[in-house]
Symmetry: D2
Subunit: 364 residues, 4 copies
């Protein structure tokens, strides 16, 4: 029980259902003196918000963030920061029909199995709308990281089988937000968009891969042996809806390499030891080594599709078929980018605080 | 700081260095009344122990487990169980030379960066020897799981690029422990062994992939939204040395699938809802659905290789070269199997307890 | 950092400042299926609310609870329950003058010392208004306890030196809420009221002692050696503003007793072992023994008094004098009763869940 | 379950039974670079050890501490520190008779009620011998505190009704360890000794009060609203066997005071705000204010007395009588002093680390 809190020193607790009154988050452990207002939160929520382009669900949500506590005279006080976002464009009528027919690929059945009954309106707590709290809290984490010289950059590297060309940090930084798929390779982005439209027209959906890059993380972050930085990142990223794998650095490809290929040679660089390559993804023995941190997540295709599917009728306990109408994204990766960035930022701030080397001198 | 504890209700704390006096674990939260003696622990330690075959390091460790507390009259009392394993075959002399030259692919440099200095004998705390505590604790977790009708089965599915044929539960159960690579496909196992010997003769090492299967887990295990079962598994598995990716179910391949392929159709089965396929790997929305739970980890090639490598001299802060001699496994996956099983078992027991449905009636 | 969460399995996170937009709490870990609506919360908030009688502050707060999540169709869903109470009768003007002059006996100076600056409006986060979140969450805890046959009863046993006669459970249950001081001894209650009025007329305030009794707690609750039931109760109760001591059972008087007087003789009672006396207060070795649990807290006199006091001017760093006007309770114990009950109820639910014996069968 | 861990960043896990093979503790989160060897631990264990004088149990334990991990080249490495103390002078034969007859005032019955059976040898896990782990860990905490300019001083202020004269820090520091009762008032100490001998000769035992003073704690330590410094101290102190009340500052006496008496006037002192009196005991709003921190605990008389007492026979479920022979302290306060100091030191280090202002620059 009670799995809605994340982090040790920088700790968030999210709450809220898709079609309830509101969703929100309480951020506890934010250092006092950080300049913060609602626009800081809003900026990230706007990146996550549906209805931004023709590749997302047409659900129209303003997702206006209200800060209810923890900020005074424009600065954080050290008290918990409560952020609330009202649910506006709620239409539960379409879900009425799904009340007794769990949607394949969704958590409808498992919530029913675990809790005995469920809020069936829009997926209830299991909806991706839950991630609003994560993104709102992540906005604060990102602001703290920026002050510490750390940047967290997410981008789509594969979608519907289309693979983006490798991009350097500069390209990721400048290209990603320029196309609706959030891909740093503009050509691949066009093909990905085409894939999305094709899938939608078939009443289907597609999956993809998102990479998150962290630049500027100092060496020494991570707490062996269980709270290794990679372990915490894996925990945070795998807790996002639709994520089925988490990789660090070269990731699963390491299985095909020899030690002599995998090991990153150590070389002096600017007067201190550095790595010539970064197969490790910036983490060795669970501790950051000063190189960029690289994470990759595989995101399954949206389970809500309009094609007819097999399911059961829970009231009558017999097989049946469903066709999901409602409003849905035909693909998740572009919208998961700010959520994944948020989780990575939350992990980093917490682990930097646990390591005892958060710079707070210039927070205000 | 303080990252050496894992779990909430069934909680373990490991300690110990490779060449220190001993390694060990304290298991807190084990229900009272479980029949337990040292042979239960020893059995799993023996599976992990080096020197079992010609594909592992020749370091000869008895790894004898002593239970120092928490057991009385052959049964657990509810008090913490302290398990100690003395380090015997310790030879630090080979490491003396590596004192100032961090080994590429190891945590030598990051420990130095984080803590300012390090126990350089055999990798100190960052050594894989640390996993003894996990395996010892996992042996208790597995015993509890068995009483609850749950089995955790690890096996090597890929090594040095050799992929095993798909195996069913029965094959995994009966074949895996019959060959030194712990592969359920006997033919592939032979090829894998050959790969290992080839790599060793080149002074190199190889990586691979391990799968862990959990059979008999009831529906309802997992605590959304952050302590989802998959998130906890990812945390536990990614915290093991050398693991670079964690997948659940179909894993990263989901990125290439359409929703209509990925979604597991729901069908009545034996009077209750079941899944026709198991792409989800037994977990939806972070909660188990009663199907087998499937995890896969990619394990990097052993970083200790005898080929010469680039590194730096920390005393003189200049580039240098090293050749690692010592005794090392040319590949990790076969030996990681019991460790991965242990971590999965520890997650399962803890999450089952958190969910409030551990059966303890027939512990004794 | 991040000290605003309490509990392990039944876990609450409170937030909000005295003169901010709102105060609230997120309750995580409440079992699914509990019948719950806002009136359950309101009932307890009304007991805590100011302005109920002429012995409390005239601040007029409706303290209307809104449940924003975690409840569907009148029942808890297992998702976190977010409760919000808007601050209404906020008048910060009186505090403007206290901005640089920390009030003696208050946390003004320590907040300034810890966080570098503070929300000076009405005490900000350090205000007793923070306890609204505790009482709201405690209302849920109490409801769960009632289903488990457990009752938590707080009452004032001493105020301004007036000591109430000893009362049995029946008297506490029926008399306490009949007088504004919440004393089970009606005669003492009258004298206490007189003391309050006298103190107020002098511009002063008085302290007192509150007892909390828990009836129906089964044997076996408490987790040695650090999370003993008494240790958790002490933690929870001492975290309430103005509490300066916590006692269990006979409490501090044990120091004057001999072992032969202190030890409660064990006797068969209704076919099982019981205690003839209850000096232990229902807890031995940190575990409940089935007897009523007895806690007592000493509550200091309200620090806000209208008498002139010495303090410093933080802007000019020199000595000065203040006279606190504003609206204040002349004594805290009567209003702390529901808060103390809430903390005890929260501890009990959490520890009962940790012990694995919460009855949830008849929650709905 | 799993209540044997204490602390968040500086975290200890204790284990072991009175008559088992050993007792011990794992200290996780100790900063790297602290000079530490076994004599640091031994010094504190020797203060706790039985058999030091004629007022303690004649059980002869060497209580030799072994450090098994986390220390290399005389310095802590940042890895967990495992400390082990073998049980030597174990004689379980006397307890055989008590197997089915729970001792009044002890945890025998509650352990039986909670766990279904118990290690009856010498009280098993519920024995005060469990505190060895606390004292060993506390020795490390104290060493860190000293480097941070903080001193923790415990002393007996009342025993068997004899009250010591008030003592200043200098007297406590120099007098306490000079008499076996650990009282800073030498005259009172003699009377207390006489009381102990009288009680023993009657086959009885006496209780008392211990005060713990912390000098040098900086302002700003403590994490509102639940992890206030006083709340953590209450938790830690109340978790010690035989403690029935915890007070901060003036403590329970505050109930008899007026606000104008209780409030400590604020005055400029050495250029910064200070307090003229210290009724608050160095903590306001849960945060240290820079004044000495004062805690007081009431300790019940030793429950093991040789006078005959009523109990039950658990095998036959009928009333019976027992006479406890064995070896017992006639009073606990003198021996609890180092334990209480340890708990206070552990809380302080952890909370200072959580607050982010541990000085580690001169650890080595």
């Amino acid at each position: 029980m009670s799995g809605n809190t994340f982090g040790t020193l920088f700790r968030i607790t999210t709450w809220g259902e898709s079609h309830g009154a509101a969703v929100g988050v309480v951020v506890d452990g934010c250092p006092a003196g950080l300049l913060l207002d609602e626009s800081d939160i809003q900026e990230e929520l706007d990146r996550r918000r549906p209805g931004q382009s023709n590749i997302t669900t047409p659900r129209k949500e303003e997702d206006k963030a209200q800060i209810l506590s923890g900020v005074f005279s424009g600065k954080t006080t050290g008290a918990p920061i409560s952020i609330l976002v009202r649910n506006k464009d709620v239409d539960s009528s379409k879900y009425e029909a799904l009340r007794n027919t769990p949607r394949p690929g969704h958590a409808d059945l498992t919530y029913e199995q675990k809790y005995g009954f469920r809020d069936w309106r829009g997926g209830g707590r299991s909806s991706a709308r839950e991630t609003i709290g994560r993104v709102a809290a992540g906005a604060i984490a990102k602001k703290i990281l920026r002050i510490n010289g750390i940047e967290v950059l997410g981008h789509v590297v594969e979608l519907g089988g289309i693979r983006a060309k490798e991009a350097n940090v500069e390209q990721i930084r400048s290209n990603t937000e320029k196309n609706p798929v959030r891909c740093a390779d503009p050509e691949a982005a066009l093909k990905m968009e085409a894939m999305i439209h094709a899938a939608r027209s078939e009443g289907d959906s597609i999956g993809g891969i998102v990479e998150i890059l962290c630049v500027g993380v100092p060496a020494g972050v991570g707490e062996p042996v269980f709270d290794k930085l990679n372990a915490q990142l894996a925990h945070g990223l795998m807790s996002i809806v639709a994520v089925k794998s988490v990789e660090i650095g070269i990731g699963a490809k390491c299985s095909l390499m020899k030690g002599s290929q995998m090991n990153d040679p150590i070389k002096m660089h600017d007067g201190k030891p550095g790595a010539l390559t970064n197969n490790a993804g910036g983490i060795l023995g669970g501790i950051s080594n000063g190189e960029p941190i690289i994470c990759r997540i595989a995101v399954k295709p949206t389970p809500s599709i309009s094609k007819e599917q097999s399911t059961v009728d829970l009231a009558e306990m017999k097989d049946t078929r469903i066709k999901i109408t409602g409003r849905h994204d035909p693909t998740i990766p572009p919208r998961i980018v700010p959520v994944a960035e948020a989780m990575v930022a939350l992990v980093l701030v917490d682990m930097i605080m646990r390591g005892g080397f958060l710079k707070t001198s210039s927070l205000g």
